[in-house]
Symmetry: C3
Subunit: 434 residues, 3 copies
């Protein structure tokens, strides 16, 4: 038995929460109704009608009614999976019982919403035995409503040290006959409450980066066949910051992230996909600069790197250190400062080329990217070689596998993908790899 993921989606890029009932509006379900009608890149992979923190405590019973009403009306057409978040707390039996009652009501097939509900999100879990209590309630919900045991997915918000530790036990606990923990789907970090639980503090009140938590979440997902999702990024105007966070997450194997607005959903859906055009990264004395070639020439116009011709070669100045170089050395020195970021087209090309080489009995081939770099008016031609072997091929297959999962499960995004990459690249990307 391998740890194959048992759910429809093998990848989840975006986890989008919506308040279930807003006070003081003529229609308290307005936001739910609007979110249910998102399509394409604005529609998330997982949609979370949020009957916990996003909804005022006094509105949560009404929130349950709203979920039932809106999901009954629109659920069938929603391109996302639907996983409402209910109330729960490791330290409060009353909260847990209320969460149970809400799940029982939301999943009731007689009300019409039941069939559209893919699972539930349980916040504020503690040790593994607390996870089992939620699992048991889900089992009861299933049997009460005549559903198959384990058919409702369960996702958790990891927002306590206890829950972080519990993730280390999932692989062995998921096989035990007394539970249905195989229903587990997403492990979602909740850094705001986690910060409080850990009693951490920063001078400005900003959130700590919690690198170890994110690693441990990704590792648990890997070991137990689940999917790791990062928590909310509060500053919704800071698109660059959101992207930096996602890049950091991707390097940890955490490919999904919370989204608070349709704008963030678009970013979250797009960021894990390879870019439409390849580009170069230049290390300008510790600052990473993106260079996009025009007509094969990529220009750096900052002051952090200086280049000038001298009588017998070149002077290359980086952060106050000068090197005197001849032609060839200059090319090598510049090559050391750059890296190439391949486009989807590049990745597909390289994979196909490697597949062909492998079939012909070769174990490794060199892929070359050439560019002319212009610094202070001087042009330097460089060629970056990268050896592709089985390992490189396998590593490259993660973004392609994600691309295919998106293509298969999100027909409403085909148009956007084709607009971005062109139809032929999309076609080839769905065919390459295994």
């Amino acid at each position: 038995m391998s740890t194959e993921r048992d759910h429809d989606r093998a990848f989840v890029r975006s986890f989008f929460t919506t308040p279930t009932a807003v006070e003081g509006e003529a229609d308290s379900a307005k936001m739910l109704r609007r979110a249910a009608q998102l399509r394409g890149m604005e529609a998330p992979d997982v949609w979370v009608p949020d009957n916990e923190d996003a909804t005022a405590p006094s509105m949560r019973d009404e929130g349950v009614e709203n979920i039932v009403e809106v999901v009954t009306a629109h659920g069938e057409d929603v391109p996302a999976e639907i996983h409402p978040r209910v109330v729960w707390h490791r330290d409060s039996p009353a909260t847990r019982y209320r969460g149970f009652q809400h799940m029982l009501e939301i999943a009731d097939p007689e009300d019409g919403a039941g069939e559209q509900i893919d699972g539930f999100v349980i916040p504020e879990v503690g040790g593994i035995d607390d996870w089992k209590k939620a699992d048991e309630f889900l089992t009861i919900v299933e049997t009460e409503h005549g559903m198959e045991e384990g058919s409702l997915a369960m996702s958790v918000i990891v927002e306590s040290g206890a829950a972080e530790l519990a993730m280390g036990d999932l692989r062995e606990e998921m096989g035990r006959p007394e539970n249905n923990l195989e229903r587990l789907f997403l492990l979602v970090d909740g850094e705001v409450d986690y910060t409080k639980d850990m009693r951490a503090m920063t001078p400005t009140g900003g959130l700590p980066p919690w690198a170890e938590l994110r690693h441990n979440t990704s590792r648990a997902a890997s070991a137990a066949g689940l999917i790791a999702i990062d928590g909310p990024y509060d500053d919704i105007r800071d698109v660059e910051g959101y992207h930096d966070r996602m890049e950091d997450n991707h390097a940890k194997g955490m490919l999904g992230i919370w989204a608070l607005t349709p704008g963030q959903v678009v970013e979250a859906n797009t960021a894990p996909l390879p870019p439409e055009e390849g580009y170069w990264l230049l290390d300008a004395d510790g600052r990473e600069v993106e260079l996009r070639p025009e007509d094969g020439v990529a220009t750096y116009d900052g002051d952090r790197i200086e280049l000038e011709a001298t009588d017998d070669g070149y002077r290359l100045g980086v952060g106050g250190d000068d090197e005197h170089l001849d032609d060839e050395d200059l090319s090598d020195a510049i090559l050391d400062l750059v890296e190439y970021v391949p486009s989807l087209d590049d990745v597909v090309d390289s994979m196909a080329e490697f597949e062909a080489a492998k079939e012909a009995g070769k174990g490794a081939i060199a892929m070359t990217q050439a560019v002319t770099l212009r610094i202070d008016g001087i042009e330097v031609d460089i060629e970056a070689d990268r050896m592709w072997d089985e390992a490189t091929y396998q590593a490259a297959s993660t973004p392609i596998a994600l691309f295919k999962d998106v293509y298969e499960n999100r027909p409403d995004q085909h148009e956007a993908l084709e607009e971005r990459y062109g139809a032929s690249v999309v076609q080839r990307a769905t065919a390459v790899g295994n």
Copy 2:
């Protein structure tokens, strides 16, 4: 059952060790005697007469007598909790037995010190079963002396990979009927011996940062209701380095630190409390600069950021990259470079304001901080907004909870707190929050 902490102190800022017997002095207990008489900010939250590494092996029996004598004489008036460190080693039964004998003697109520001893610190623990051996000895000490089981606290020094792993099991082990591990109090990292146990080395012989160890210690404290303390900072003259380390620790939820001198105790007691005046942090091309406004104007006078007026606006230069900006864009660009560090007064204000807003049915309010920034003689007005919602409020409550814990348990520090913040701010801080 929640993981409420069972001890008097919910927070410990400072863990101060003192040699128990110094050779060649007329009074070998001189340092102990002096430490017992520290008061106010110089007195730690936890005082540790150190009968292990700080005391020569040949002096440790005398050290035990000194502890008994000094604690009998002064213990009642010591504002700190008193937790002597005894000898222990996971690999040496003889050392463990000696530590047991020392505890038996120190805790003996007939000698007079017993009642003043709050617990013991056990160094060099290994796997969880080794922790249980120490716990069992403490249980025997308690029953031999007619004390209640579990009344003596137990703190450990985490200085081996085995102990680091054991911390992951505390939450479940602490409930078992065969032990009294609920007595656990502090988890203290000991990076020097940990470095040796891990066989780590650095070119200069300096200690590695051990970020993961500190995270795991803080997480275990969170999961098991304990308190995490960082190890000693050897370079006692490097106050700035000690502060940097504490700031890093606080962002991990590790709010306490070892102190080797009364001077370090003052720093350790003060650093986790919010500052008396708010200030701004400026990101000057990767270097963080503190700007303290005078008459509402904060001046940056370094060369890492350049600002000059041009014909049609401004040129802003950061690390060799220039931006040309009009008035509004300049203000936005500067705003991106700064963050506000709130004072205790600011935090109390914001919490009170949010409490009032919440009562009035609002879920979020904007808190604004305004300042004029002067760079290269040019003044730029900026306004930083921060949304406060329930989560922000909860996160801000950690420093306030710590403040209240200090205020309640350390009457000897009231004067220093009032001198620092003013009596009215102190009064309001003890009243806000829940």
Copy 3:
């Protein structure tokens, strides 16, 4: 019982893999044959005839024959321990059975290779029960061939989240009567496949740093008495990058690393040993610069630090910030920017001096390093003091213990060591410490 390491080597610096059978060569065992004849610094501590990833799947049965042949012919003279890597996969019983058959054949004493085989390397392990399957096969190999149970070492490649988690259980699992896991020897990270298993991705396709994995591997080695080894560094031309990685590993207690070429073996064997000459590290505005004194004067000739004499003292400029200093302050300011990296000679001196001081009843002594620093033509004399106490002594003993382990187990490297350090320093290094 302490966690003493049970194997011949307490330290392993280099883990060198060689393809077992190369297609299209007249002699498919050519690379094996050449690797078996490496001596001195080019010979690794652990040599791994690699019948997994380095060898084409179709060549692996022939690879087994080659191992038997080459190890029979040359094994006795190979200075390295010999641990072939066989095929294995947590998700494939067929692969595991094939690995078992290969081990049975390679270890057969009738073929002549058996006695020279020190153990096997098992890749792609999963949870701890998967490790036990490999252990059981090794036990069967041993009893089938009349060897003592547990006499074959077992090393694993950690290249899945499941295996990373399993490392946390080794300490307690290794004592159980149903297994012979005490045979465990090396924990080797395999970052390429780990990246795939974690589904991580980076823009350029480069490997993530995986700092937490390396920490957890080192910690498991510490807790269970094993040895931690980092995975392969692909860019074999990038010697500087390989060194940076090793320095980072050493600070985590991971003292060994994979080597893909004899050149990398030399680097891996040398890097954990102290340098032959001490030198200074200068923090030049965030960039670390190595300064090697000539005739007691170390010169910095970059532009990141500026120093000039003024009417009443000096102007010191670091990264755009100026300080105006008198003579003494200048010396202190420069001292804050530098650190000394001791040579093997320095380390031995300091240890011997501390041992003598300790015998004379002193607990701590100051070791001084003096140098003249020349910046922009101005010379500044500095003296760096470092307090040596028992803890410093113990920390310094790790490189010395490693040195002695090398000296004892690798007579073929004596000549290279004496060439590097001089015979007298080598002699004293083998005598100091305990």
